[in-house]
Symmetry: C2
Subunit: 250 residues, 2 copies
DNA sequence: CGGAACATTGACGATAATCAAAGCGAGTGG
DNA sequence: CCACTCGCTTTGATTATCGTCAATGTTCCG
C-alpha cells in the first residue's frame, strides 16, 4: 500500500520506538483548525510531520473574497508534512472534518530515520508521487467535468482510497463532508451541490444521510464519473492488459 | 533554487559523470508526444527520469469525450519522473509545446545517486513538495477563480517560475501556449480564452504576439490574479515579516 | 423553547459553453 | 509567384450550466 503512509510509518515507529520524540496523539473535534499547531515552525528543527490516524481532515486555501477551496482530503493514513508551504509560510491551512486522531512527528526525527533506512526515504518519494497524482486528478475533475461527474468522481475516489487503507467496509463509508464542504472541494456552490446530490439519489446511485454514504451501484457511479482508479493503485502491478478502458481521442 | 531541479541534477552529474548512463539529450519539435518514450517501462530498471533543459512541455489527461486537461506545465529545470503513474500505466501523457531539450536519466541511476548523496534524496522530496504546491494552486485557480483571474494567475505563475530558473528576462518571456493550450490549462474553451485575452490587452496589462508575452504592469496583473508567490518561493528564507498581504476571512 | 448549523426549494441572473463562420499568416506545391 | 491548405485567431448569436438571492425546513442540542 503506497497510500498507507501510516503503515510504513508505524513500522518505522516500531523499529525505533524510543527515538521518535513528540509522537503525541491528539483527538480533535470537527472544524478544528489545526494548522497553526501543525504547520508552524520555530527554527527548522521544529517542523513537524503529522499523520492522520483516523478521521477526515482537509487542506484548504482562502481567497481574497473569502472563498474557500479545499485542495486535499486527508484520510486515515495520510501524511501532510509542510508540503505546500516549503518556506514555512502557510498559504494552506488544515481543518478537521470529523473527530481526528493525529500523530505528530518532528521532521528532524524523520530525517534521521531516512538516513538510517533509505527505504523510508523512497517511501516518502513514492507517497509524494501519489499525492501528486491525486492533485492532478482534481485539476482534471474541476477543470473538465460537469457538476454531476465531479461529485461522482469524488465519491469514487474517496471510496477507493478508504478501501486501500482501511479494511474494506463494503459499499458503506463514513463520509463526514457537509454540502458546504463538498462545494469547496469541487469548486461549486452549496446550492448546486444539493441539487446534484438529489440527482444521484434519484438515479439510485447513492444514499447519503447522517454522514453515512452508501453506494448502491458502484459500477454505474464510476461510469458516470469516468473513474479509472489507475492513478491510485500502488505501483509495480504491471498488469499490461488490465488497464481499464481509456479513450485517447484527438 | 529549489525549483531548479536542473541545477542540483547537473551538479550531481558533474560529480559522477561516468556513472549516469543514458543521459541522452534530445531536441524535440513542438507537439511531439514524448510520453511513450519517457514514461514507458520494461521492467523496473528501465524507468527513466527525464528533466527538461529548455523549452516548454506539458502533462495532460484525455477524458472519454476527448476533452483534454493539462495538469502541469514543464518549464526548463522541471523533472517529470513517473510521478503520476506509479504503476507504469500512464494515465497522463506528455507533450512538448515548443522545441525542447530533454535529458533522460535511468531511475536506477538516480537511486544510486541518492544512496550516495542523501542531499539529493532530500532535494527530490523538496522538489516534490513544490510540485504539490503548484498543483494545489491550480486546483484553487480552476475551482474558485473566474476566467480573467485564472489567465492572469497562470501568467504570473509562469513568469515567476521562469524567473526562478532562467536568468531574469525582465517582463518579456517566451510563452509558446496557443489559445487552445491555454484553454486546456485553465479548464475553459478556446473562444472564451480569446475574449479574456483581449480584455487583458485592452486593460494594457499584457501583450501577447508571436509567442512573446510582455507584461506591462506586473503589479496590476498580480492584483487581478490575486497572485501570491509564497507557494513558489524556495524554503528556508524565514523572513517572518515579508509575507505578502493575504486575507484570511472566515 | 430557542437557536444554530445544515439541507432544501424557487426565481432570476450571469458567466461561460456551443455553434458557426470568417479572417489571418505561414508554409507548400504547382 | 500565386493559389491553396492548415493551424490558429477572431467575431457574433444563441444556449445552458451554474451562481446568486432569499426564504423555508429540518435536525440537533443546550
Amino acid at each position: 500500500m503506497v497510500n498507507a503512509f501510516l503503515q510504513r510509518l508505524s513500522q518505522a515507529a516500531d523499529l525505533t520506538d524510543g527515538e521518535l520524540s513528540a509522537v503525541d496523539e491528539l483527538c480533535r473535534q470537527p472544524k478544528d483548525i489545526a494548522a497553526k499547531k501543525y504547520l508552524s515552525r520555530d527554527g527548522d528543527e521544529m517542523v513537524s510531520f503529522p499523520v492522520v490516524l483516523s478521521g477526515w481532515a482537509a487542506r484548504y486555501q482562502i481567497l481574497r473574497d473569502g472563498a474557500r477551496q479545499i485542495t486535499r482530503l486527508l484520510l486515515p493514513g495520510d501524511a501532510f508534512y509542510f508540503g505546500s508551504a516549503p518556506n514555512g509560510v502557510a498559504i494552506e491551512e488544515v481543518i478537521t472534518l470529523s473527530p481526528c486522531k493525529i500523530v505528530n512527528i518532528l521532521y528532524s526525527d524523520m530525517r534521521r530515520l531516512i538516513d538510517r533506512f533509505p527505504a523510508i526515504g523512497e517511501a516518502m518519494r513514492t507517497y509524494g508521487c501519489m499525492e501528486n497524482a491525486i492533485l492532478a486528478s482534481w485539476v482534471v475533475n474541476v477543470g473538465r467535468r460537469d457538476a454531476l461527474e465531479r461529485m461522482a468522481h469524488l465519491i469514487c475516489e474517496s471510496h477507493y482510497r478508504l478501501a486501500l487503507v482501511d479494511l474494506d467496509q463494503g459499499q458503506q463509508i463514513h463520509f463526514p463532508l457537509t454540502q458546504d464542504d463538498l462545494a469547496d472541494v469541487l469548486g461549486l456552490t452549496p446550492v448546486h451541490i444539493n441539487r446534484k446530490l438529489q440527482q444521484l439519489r434519484q438515479d439510485d446511485l447513492i444514499t447519503l444521510r447522517c454522514k453515512q454514504l452508501t453506494i448502491h451501484d458502484l459500477r454505474a457511479l464510476q461510469q458516470v464519473a469516468g473513474f479509472d482508479p489507475a492513478y491510485l493503485t500502488p505501483r509495480a502491478q504491471s498488469q499490461p492488459d488490465q488497464q481499464s478502458p481509456r479513450a485517447a481521442a484527438a
